[in-house]
């Protein structure tokens, strides 16, 4: 059987720049073995020392997780496509243990009885590459209240992608710079700023007054913290991630339906499995596209209109300008929202290293 194996752009350096590899085999396992024999550098990413496919590698056959079928023994047909989807935080990259099941009935979204935009309150974690476009567009759309948390000051290297900050803001607190821009755009918007690191101590209290939470963070510990806090506070979370030319977005709202972050990635990647914590660079417009998608998802959640990205994992690859969608559903063994949940309070994860 001839199968297309799709390589996401963060891994393309290992396949000589190819994003689609033609491979052959009768099962997923055979196809993967053939790919690895042609591209030995992929072996380390996909397999452990014993040659077994890594626990954190997720493989989709035609957009469904092979684990919801017969795993590596799943038979393939001519023309099928296999994908691997790395999870990204901003500087780091990682391939998570996805649990993908068939998507259920599409949500009757109006059940949430959304508020009007003018009464809506959106909290944005981070005034950086994702938070900037999200905040600007939410302010211009007429959202009632925007909360924004960031403990950093503006650096010259931020400016190519963080459009809340201009050249003469270098050295200024990001949240102050953000407030000025949002007020200039829409004096009617209420802006609440939190010039602090968001931690397990303060996060639940900070997000409690808000209707929708947007994740604009760039590291795994913060993404897990905000995911858990949103679960405990029953808030919908609009997740985003960018790396190089690559972006991802989805909405978690497990109290309504669909998975949480831990359903698809139970724990932050262990230290050492993440190639680098150095900020890996990104094209500013890619951050803009993902941040804007996050703003639009927040608006949809508030207005109760449209079909939000709940249970839908959107993957954007700007190099070939493709948007792909993978179905994600709740993992009943999820340590946070599963039936025998082991996580009952917020966990502080060590930053694997400082960004």
């Amino acid at each position: 059987m001839s199968v297309q194996v799709r390589i996401p752009s963060p891994l393309k350096s290992l396949t000589g720049g190819k994003d689609v590899i033609q491979s052959r085999g009768t099962t997923v396992g055979e196809v993967i073995q053939q790919v690895i024999s042609s591209y030995p550098e992929l072996r380390e990413r996909l397999c452990d020392e014993k040659g077994q496919v890594r626990r954190f590698i997720n493989i989709f056959l035609n957009h469904e997780d092979i684990r919801s079928m017969r795993n590596l023994d799943t038979p393939v047909n001519d023309g099928d496509s296999l994908s691997t989807i790395p999870s990204i935080a901003g500087g780091a990259e990682f391939t998570p243990d996805h649990r993908i099941f068939r998507h259920g009935i599409s949500p009757q979204w109006a059940e949430l009885k959304g508020k009007g935009l003018g009464e809506g309150k959106v909290f944005i974690l981070g005034a950086g590459g994702l938070g900037s476009p999200a905040a600007l567009y939410l302010a211009s759309a007429g959202i009632g209240t925007i909360g924004i948390a960031d403990s950093d000051v503006v650096d010259l290297s931020n400016l190519h992608r963080q459009l809340l900050h201009f050249t003469n803001d270098v050295g200024r607190e990001k949240v102050r710079s953000a407030r000025a821009k949002l007020k200039a755009l829409n004096p009617g918007v209420k802006v609440r700023t939190y010039e602090t690191r968001v931690t397990s101590e303060n996060v639940r209290e900070i997000i409690r007054p808000y209707d929708v939470i947007i994740d604009g963070s760039d590291n795994f510990p913060t993404k897990f913290l905000i995911n858990d806090a949103c679960y405990f506070e029953k808030k919908p979370l609009v997740l985003g991630g960018i790396l190089k030319f690559y972006g991802q977005a989805t909405v978690f709202h497990p109290w309504y339906k669909g998975p949480c972050y831990r359903c698809i990635l139970p724990d932050p990647p262990p230290p050492g499995s993440v190639p680098s914590c150095q900020e890996a660079g990104v094209i500013g417009a890619i951050a803009g596209i993902i941040g804007m998608i996050q703003a639009f998802e927040a608006i949809k959640l508030l207005s109760g209109q449209g079909d939000p990205l709940i249970g839908r994992f959107l993957v954007f690859d700007a190099l070939d300008m493709t948007f792909s969608e993978f179905n994600i559903v709740r993992n009943e063994n999820c340590p946070l929202c599963g039936k025998d949940a082991s996580i009952t309070q917020l966990v502080d994860y060590q930053q694997v290293c400082q960004a």
């Binding site: 759309a141 804007m292 608006i299 969608e325």
Partner: protein, 265 residues
């Protein structure tokens, strides 16, 4: 390449990419983009093109900034109310990145004037939201062999199409008449708060074009359904009967103040 230390720092997160070295940043810097339309379709695109270091940006718009514009047009602020949108946009570009040369054209494009302006640019980002202007710019770009990146929006639907003259279909090949298609006819439709999405996708395409990396949208249009948050791509072909780039051309020059659309039909 003579980037200053400050410039290297400003673009450092871009230059660190394996696809974008210092040489590529220099290519971006020598890029000259004419942006037609200073409204919501072009707002985010203009800001990211400036922030990313595209050396010269021209902005064409004959309208003033109104209260209604501030909804969805992050390029303008309340202090620019009443000011021409092209001029307001050029000022914003200066605040974002002083390295960029920004030129405002506070006029309605038409006829030969279009060619006069276009000759100073490498390519055009068409965000006018007006079908007369879109056909005019398409004609001008094909006649002058300049790549054209079109962003359109109607209601919740957005569309991106790029025209590489001589190498694939032009806008007229696919949409010979505006009546043939809702988006082509209505242009921007209602001012959608997030109309900038498609323009921004085209801005990403323009960066790829300048650095020569990745696969550009050639011979395909990208459709965006905002409310479902779904993206579709559709193949489009060159039309041998196209009045502009087909075998029996009837449009050979730019005429009229409202664009050449009337002249062609």
């Amino acid at each position: 390449m003579d980037f200053t230390r400050e410039q290297l720092e400003r673009y450092s997160r871009q230059i660190v990419l394996p696809e974008v070295g210092e040489q590529d940043q220099a290519k971006i810097r020598s890029g000259r983009v004419l942006i037609v339309g200073g409204g919501h379709l072009s707002s985010a695109a203009t800001m990211y093109l400036a922030a990313g270091g595209v050396g010269k940006l021209g902005i064409v718009d004959s309208h003033p900034v109104t209260h209604r514009d501030l909804r969805g047009q992050i390029l303008h602020t309340v202090s620019s109310l009443g000011e021409n949108r092209a001029e307001s946009a050029a000022k914003m570009v200066g605040r974002i990145n002083p390295d960029i040369s920004a030129k405002a054209y506070p006029i309605q494009l038409g006829g030969e004037k279009t060619a006069d302006i276009l000759k100073d640019y490498d390519l055009v980002l068409e965000c006018s939201g007006d079908f007369h202007t879109r056909y005019l710019v398409n004609d001008a770009c094909v006649l002058m062999e300049k790549p054209l990146f079109i962003a359109e929006m109607a209601g919740d639907w957005g569309r991106a199409m790029s025209v590489y003259p001589g190498q694939g279909p032009c806008y007229r090949c696919v949409f010979p008449k505006p009546e043939a298609d809702g988006i082509a006819r209505k242009g921007t439709g209602d001012a959608n708060a997030l109309g900038g999405m498609v323009g921004l996708i085209q801005a990403a395409e323009i960066f790829k074009f300048f650095v020569g990396k990745g696969d550009l949208l050639r011979g395909e249009i990208l459709l965006w359904d905002g409310f479902r948050m779904r993206f579709h791509r559709k193949r489009v072909e060159r039309d041998r009967e196209c009045a502009l780039c087909g075998e029996h051309r009837t449009i050979t020059r730019l005429v009229g103040n409202e664009g050449s659309y009337e002249a062609a039909v």
